[in-house]
Symmetry: C2
Subunit: 229 residues, 2 copies
DNA sequence: ACCTGAACACCGTTCAAGT
DNA sequence: ACCTGAACACCGTTCAAGT
């Protein structure tokens, strides 16, 4: 994934850009989105805080590079099979994207916090547009649908991450569901009867099944006869 | 909106909880999501930094209260008319929600950053479930659809806010579209042909029209015959 | 009960100096 | 070219003291 940097002279650099990003991910996984401080990264890799500025101009550049690298780690190759139904290709892409992002929940707020306009982010965009073009949508509708898709994937993951809050390492899905169930069981039924009644379903929001259901509904909405335009 | 606090004795308190929250909003509007520091708030209302801790136990409590107040400022009363089509009620609720959130873009990341489990947030949830029940969806499907709706509204606004980044005060829609157009025109067409071709539509992602289109597609997906479950 | 000054442990970033 | 120590202007929070 590394954008190979030209070797320079002088005292051998003890670090690589990727090592800095690795340290950031480690801190992010350990302590959530706010844990990736420049000073923390420096300590993690064993240098003085300001040494980080030899590799990146400032903190936002570190974040940007990390986001781009994470986008690059999503394997888009397995979608090559054009023989599959486009609905399945979209669904599999969505699930793959969610899986990758869930691996490092702390990175998610950083991805959503910025413009998502790097090369790897655009490559993902391009892939989605390609699938939607194969589906027979015209350029205009494909662009809109692409955005709808991106919003759903990142929106649902962002809400998931927000719910597990600043708890430490990522918990398995079953644990997160039961934790949410406990919260919803406290919903006062006299004031919010519908929310209380729906609590078991709401607790499952963080499940892969629920996510898949949403993707299918989105697809259904795209293929439905366009009567409202 | 204020949760009326019981009057206490001692030296008259020079501030109210709402004044603290107002100051936070002012800073948020001026400098984006990271600008609402405790020290900044204190300066804004003219007290020492630690005086804020008389009104709120810590910063997260300030954020929580601000988020809750913002949820409360969304007028849900105008949806009372049960005679309207449920599709229109959902759409109007979505647009109202977006309008309210767009007023103070800096608050949006704070809303998404936490669990959205306060009374006013639950009241919104309840309203959506009510409309979906009127639409004839059963409890289970209404709960799932409600989540889909919430994800779309907050996801799309979060991505909007991320794009206008840390520019100062909220710009009018037309300005933001043309700013985005300028960015997308630089997309290298040789590497991302589809993205470049779709750039004019992508620039309009921040428009109300695009947002409405998405809501309609979501509704279409919900009413489409459920063949994929 | 409310507010203050002073302090603590953080943060991102810069600068002059060393190799 | 790379790294360091020291410093600057921030940050959230606590504590003892004043009214």
């Amino acid at each position: 994934m590394t954008t190979s940097s030209p070797r320079r002279s002088g005292p051998r650099r003890s670090l690589s850009e990727d090592q800095v990003l690795d340290a950031a991910v480690t801190l992010l996984d350990r302590g959530g989105a706010s844990a990736a401080s420049v000073r923390g990264i420096a300590q993690e890799v064993g240098v003085a805080p300001n040494a980080v500025y030899t590799y990146f101009p400032d903190k936002s550049a570190v974040v940007k590079a990390l986001v781009e690298r994470t986008f690059g780690e999503i394997d888009l190759g397995f979608l090559a099979g054009r023989r599959q139904k486009w609905q399945d290709r979209i669904e599999r892409l969505a699930v793959a994207l969610r899986e990758q992002l869930t691996l490092h929940p702390g990175v998610v707020p950083l991805m959503i916090g910025g413009p998502m306009d790097g090369p790897n982010a655009l490559a993902l965009n391009e892939k989605v547009l390609e699938i939607l073009a194969d589906a027979g949508l015209d350029d205009d509708e494909a662009a809109r649908a692409c955005y709808l898709f991106i919003v759903y994937v990142f929106g649902s993951i962002a809400l998931e991450v927000a719910d597990l809050d600043e708890h430490g390492p990522p918990a398995p899905e079953a644990d997160r569901i039961s934790a949410r169930t406990r919260v919803f069981e406290q919903t006062p039924a006299e004031h919010f009867p519908r929310t209380a009644a729906a609590s078991s379903v709401m607790a499952a929001y963080v499940s892969t099944d629920q996510f898949r259901w949403g993707v299918r509904r989105l697809i259904a909405g795209l293929t439905a006869t366009a009567d409202a335009d």
